[in-house]
Amino acid sequence: MKKIIKYIFISSFIVYIIFPIITNLILSFSNVWQWPNIWPEEITLKHYNNIFNQRNFLKAILNTTTIGIMVILLNYILVIPSAYGVSRLKSKYKAIIITIIILPIIVPPILVLLNLYNHFLVWDLTDHYIGVVIAHMIPSLPYMFILLYLGFEKVDPNYESIFLSLGINPMKGFFTVILPQVKEAIILGGIMTFLISISQYLSTLLIGGGKILTMTLLLTPYIQGGNARIGAAYGILLILLCTFLIYLYERILLGGKKNA
């Protein structure tokens, strides 16, 4: 039985994760690739050349990274205290409070987005970085909240009594005793947020008004009907960017320790 589960898991991993990436990778280097050929007839670098020669490309990379990092930081500022507070709450309304916080991922995103757009028009936040950052925070914040809430729930509340009894003030105790114990949840929450942020197409287009360019904004039109090969090359570059940033992020937070 264990063997069967292992095979199902490996097969699913290959079919759903490895296979699309490999297909994309081959497609991004192909010039002509027609049915029923397994391999492309002609290999080329012109799609990558095309992308690197676009004047918006570097700007899109910079925007994607900056917006992603800002979303992560703002999410941390909002989520860390709220997730900790809710985890320590002894109230019969706790479940309701959690449901309200994760509501943005329960309600259809287009509803949330249109409502947000109307408000941002009034507050003059459309076509603006801050507007896009807030729009990216809305779908990512609930995920980060859930991860951190579950992390804090596992930390024994008596740790607070311990550091207080040692004469440490609550803020210092929180940052030196409680927070390091949810390090994995913090890292995972940050990665999740970044991945959600870079995949936002509609919200970036609507709130950013096409003026705030991100990788996804450049990539999507190619996939939807333009040149799928350029779209594939964009996809590969996006995967490389994400992998590099996530690696860097883990190195910084874990401080080089694998088992922190």
């Binding site: 008596n158 740790y159 009894s165 040692l166 003030n169």
Partner: protein, 330 residues
């Protein structure tokens, strides 16, 4: 040292009312009670995590009620040692000093001293998950004591340890207490543990202190019969008294009562001598003498003696009727 006067605290249906309570300087004072008796509530009031509706808590004759928990200089040690999992033993012990920005030299000197005192030399770099239960407890004690607290609150700290390790830890706590002269309030539900470790004991029941005194006094002369429920060493037997006399462990006892009673006999109410009425099957060492478990036919009974008997010794026992207490059977 620690005093509480007219303390009141209520939550839901539970009321804690402490008229007067004192932990003396250089003392290990045990607070003995069943779960739900109010032990942890009292601990939280002293530590500053709860605030009483009435009354005062004094430490060294000064009220501490207005002080925040981190300003009270009262250290806490819990049942599960709660070592910081992301720090090694050295960092755990030196945590408070580092957080208070003490010099590296001071931290190193103090941590090394406590590692020595706790027999933990060579353990500094180990992570908490690499330690045994007893080692974790020793690190937790060192971490608490390095801050030179005025009082230590221990909330059932030896739960989960095997009896041998528990006895070792009791001796270690007593030694450390004597060396540092820091008063300890030791919270437990285990009477035997309280007897072994304490200089004084208070018993708490339904939010009230029902007895305070030295262990011997509590063991041999409890004020409230309900305290006896905690006592492992007490002999309890249902008897029917007719014509003002009954038989207890082959001794004829005269009483002024008649009817069905539960007879409660403390171990010092039985005089032991060499003979052949029973066989000693267990010996418990206490501070002020030994308690023996004697097999008598199909029954067992506890007896106290300053004389030294050994396991498997055959003994005679004589019951002193003046020690017997009677609880009416419902």
């Amino acid at each position: 040292m620690l005093e509480m006067h007219q303390l009141n605290y209520s939550i839901n249906d539970f009321n804690l009312r402490i008229e007067n309570f004192e932990v003396k300087n250089n003392n290990i004072h045990s607070l003995l009670g069943n779960s739900g008796a109010g032990k942890s509530t009292l601990l939280n009031l002293i530590a500053g995590h709860l605030y009483p509706s009435k009354g005062d808590i004094l430490l060294n004759s000064k009220s501490i009620l207005h002080l925040k928990p981190n300003k009270r200089k009262i250290a806490l040690i819990f049942q599960n040692s709660l070592l910081f999992p992301h720090m090694n033993v050295y960092e755990n012990i030196g945590y408070a000093l580092k957080a208070k920005k003490k010099s590296q030299m001071e931290i190193q000197n103090k941590v090394t001293l406590w590692l020595k005192r706790m027999n933990l030399m060579g353990y500094g770099k180990r992570m908490p998950h690499e330690l045994s239960g007893g080692e974790k407890k020793r690190v937790a004690i060192a971490r608490a004591l390095i801050t030179d607290p005025k009082l230590i609150l221990m909330d059932e700290p030896l739960n989960g340890l095997d009896p041998k390790l528990r006895d070792e830890m009791i001796n270690l706590i007593k030694t450390i207490q004597k060396e540092t002269s820091i008063a300890i309030l030791y919270i437990t539900h285990d009477f035997e543990e309280a007897l072994k470790i304490s200089d004084t004991i208070s018993v708490i029941k339904d939010g009230k202190i029902i007895h305070s005194g030295i262990p011997k006094e509590l063991l041999f002369n409890p004020v409230d019969l309900s305290i006896i429920d905690f006592f492992t060493y007490y002999n309890k037997k249902k008897v029917t008294i007719s014509n003002h006399k009954f038989n207890l462990y082959n001794n004829v006892i005269h009483s002024n009562k008649d009817g069905d009673f539960c007879c409660i006999l403390p171990p010092q109410g039985i005089l032991l001598s060499f003979g052949n009425s029973g066989v000693i099957i267990e010996k418990h060492y206490l501070k002020y003498g030994n308690i023996y478990l004697i097999n008598h036919g199909e029954e067992t009974l506890y007896a106290f003696s300053h004389e030294h008997f050994e396991k498997n010794d055959c003994v005679d026992f004589k019951i002193q009727s003046e020690f017997i207490r009677y609880k009416k059977e419902k």
